[in-house]
Symmetry: C2
Subunit: 220 residues, 2 copies
């Protein structure tokens, strides 16, 4: 079927470019994560809290992916880190070639951590390798505890799950135990953090993990 063939070619081409990105990042000793989630799960808020916490202690850059607007890159740039905005103009996910182009706009020497914030979409970005070390999926408590079962590919392809908005848990019908158990059913090797960007809970733990991972990558 011709459409499937073309789709396979698109994915193969994407994977080739992703491997080039991965090799480039490895050469500079940069740990790169690809943050994915539903729209409004809190990726940008977590990113802002992360930049505040890491402060000047780790050299970080950000690539922002959005369907439209540069609102997120402007939020991030306030924290004084290099940020490149990719606007997909309707595209539902980032692809490796967009990230390759964005990397050309960053000064990579001395960088330790690259955070790529994908388009808010719990389906399409799961298929696209960008050259990251790992995918980090953010799920907020207000989305309900059944999301790992309903959108399994994203949870299967991620290495880390951040359960965000835990401050809102008392006001929802979600159970954090059910959410954790559903996520681990799909992917038993997930590393899980629980965070609230409003109270700051869990952010230190997440940042300590990021710092450790960035150190490991940098010293290789």
């Amino acid at each position: 079927m011709s459409i499937l063939t073309i789709e396979r070619k698109v994915l193969e081409k994407n994977d080739e470019v992703a491997e080039e990105n991965r090799a480039l990042l490895a050469r500079y000793g940069i740990f790169a994560i690809n943050m994915v989630s539903s729209p409004g799960a809190g990726k940008t808020s977590i990113l802002e809290r992360t930049l505040e916490t890491l402060g000047g202690t780790l050299s970080v850059a950000v690539i922002e992916g959005d369907v439209q607007t540069d609102l997120d890159a402007r939020r991030v740039a306030r924290h004084g880190v290099p940020a490149v905005q990719i606007v997909t103009r309707g595209g539902c996910h980032l692809e490796a070639n967009l990230v390759r182009d964005a990397l050309r706009g960053l000064s990579l020497g001395g960088l330790r951590l690259l955070i790529i914030e994908n388009v808010g979409n719990l389906v399409c970005p799961s298929n696209y390798d960008l050259g990251e070390a790992m995918k980090v999926v953010v799920a907020s408590t207000t989305e309900g505890d059944d999301k790992p079962l309903k959108y399994p590919a994203m949870f299967r392809n991620a290495s880390v799950l951040i359960i965000n908005k835990i401050d809102l848990l008392p006001y929802t019908d979600s159970s954090i135990l059910t959410l954790r158990s559903n996520a681990l059913q799909i992917n038993p090797s997930l590393t899980i953090f629980e965070t609230s960007c409003r109270t700051g809970r869990g952010i230190d733990e997440w940042c300590a993990w990021l710092r450790r991972k960035s150190g490991e990558t940098g010293s290789r």
Copy 2:
């Protein structure tokens, strides 16, 4: 460019089938809506509240679209209405041919209202006409008030916006005025409802509107 050509052909073919669905629904006097949102914005909860409220007073059927699982169709079926589940197995949106097949599984005679619940995705379903009378986009307060600006196509292509989870508004940084104003900036002709599935607020108003629209379609 060959991929774009094929994509255009896919959309053209989809639009043809959508028109067939629309003609079929018109023949039976059925008002059909296509509910779209981010994952976890509350489409299924609104649907359940709607079915409770409309009770036996309006003949309703439901088509559920999900990437995986039939959890939603089972939630809906408890309310005693005919429900067909479409599982897209990774597909990020419903297409008109899937809805055509689902319609064959429903007894259309006497039906007044068809609710199609799309895959949770604020990007891809915006391009796909299913043959509905209108798209209804659900945005929850916890997703933040900037979503209409960041995902404009969906808000542009919808006729109705349901702002859900208004009970959580005091616990978020979202402003309902900003959310309304951003949505109306993208699409000034949006009809807007504010609902909470936990308190029931706004559900009666929404159901009265649905009943009126279904009556208008049925009497044509």
